[in-house]
Subunit: 254 residues, 2 copies
Amino acid sequence: MSKPLILVTNDDGIVAPGIKALVEVAATLGEVVVVAPDSPQSGKGHAITIHEPLRLNKVNPFPGIESWESSGTPVDCVKLAKHVVLKDRNIDLCVSGINHGSNASINIIYSGTMSAAMEAALESIRSIGFSLLDYSFDADFEPAKPYIRKIMGYMLARPFQPGYLLNVNIPKLPSDQLRGLKVCRQADARWIEKMIEGRDPAGRPYYWLSGDFVNNDHQEDTDIWALENGYISIVPSMHDLTNYPAIPTLKDLE
Amino acid sequence: MSKPLILVTNDDGIVAPGIKALVEVAATLGEVVVVAPDSPQSGKGHAITIHEPLRLNKVNPFPGIESWESSGTPVDCVKLAKHVVLKDRNIDLCVSGINHGSNASINIIYSGTMSAAMEAALESIRSIGFSLLDYSFDADFEPAKPYIRKIMGYMLARPFQPGYLLNVNIPKLPSDQLRGLKVCRQADARWIEKMIEGRDPAGRPYYWLSGDFVNNDHQEDTDIWALENGYISIVPSMHDLTNYPAIPTLKDLE
């Protein structure tokens, strides 16, 4: 049997340590092709580039691994992989990350990492976004690697079905404190934003987004609970944003 | 009773005809404040700006209406409105649009218009995104206006509750062919992408995103069915992307 074809992308850019860790794990399971942004794209959400052309250049950051960098967003990278780089091939799995920082709970909707994964799922490709709860450049991805390999192997062993888009978040813990995997729902948390106001060198005002993550949803079936209790959280995700319970409440509008 | 405070934003930029039409309707129902992007932001999804500061300038495109333009994305505009422009005030309703082009079905996840509306909903503000199925600059927004006014009035008359984030799409039809409002679910349609390849003046390759919208979900409770049959579609939407039915199917991963 031929090796599975695994597409690797991210949103921190192709030189981020997190994608290197993910390439290393993926290479133990299949043939790896990387298509990732040429610059950091955090917070890009499901942005796509429609008013300008995209660049795509072959690069060589990972010895022996076919790699391309693009001027586009993470979602653009998945589209370029599917329709240009791997045009006539079947992609068995797409993995995005490892993100430097959490994409648990509400972070999923701002996340370039998870939007890339969702785009692959829309193309009926099994897809997983991985994030480590450590923003630093020197984050230690080693403790997470065996779990990442297990989840990737699990997905590769099964045919694609809706829901095979996984949002995986990993607590910042040494190996002996990681308690394993937990399948969860997205906690109903949010950001309380602040806009930091300042003045540029010319004296003109600017605003810079900041904020605090606030969670009031402490149930044990949530991703935030899992992460706070030493588990790696796995939330199956989807692209249908319909609020079904609200439909009957609005019928008098018709 | 004081007039309700209505925030207006969009993703086509503050000079687009669609936002002018929305401001005109909103001004008949309350006090209007506009905070919108200074340039087109279509396809920006739920992108936020975190690696650079944002600009915010007072402008005067709509006589008698307080208006600000920002260098940020549509979601940034809502955050600036809430935390800077209208810092100490209660926003009764946020309306986004009128978008030039459809945001029905899967388009919601790429849409700056709907992401701005969702950001307001995350701040517990009643919120509606409006889109007309006509990409042209000269699109005729007049037939839609009475319906837009009705939906805004309906929302203003009710206290906020989850699900009061509405994705409203309007078919391109003259007034006498519009058949009214229909509350729907998001159709499970998708884009079949193409990457148009070309060469720039220096001979280097570029790729430009294109594609066809394909719908295989023809049930009568979908937004696409409503639009194809002359109705204005209203889909209540939400930010929880958990695929609940998939959770039990993954439990053997734990």
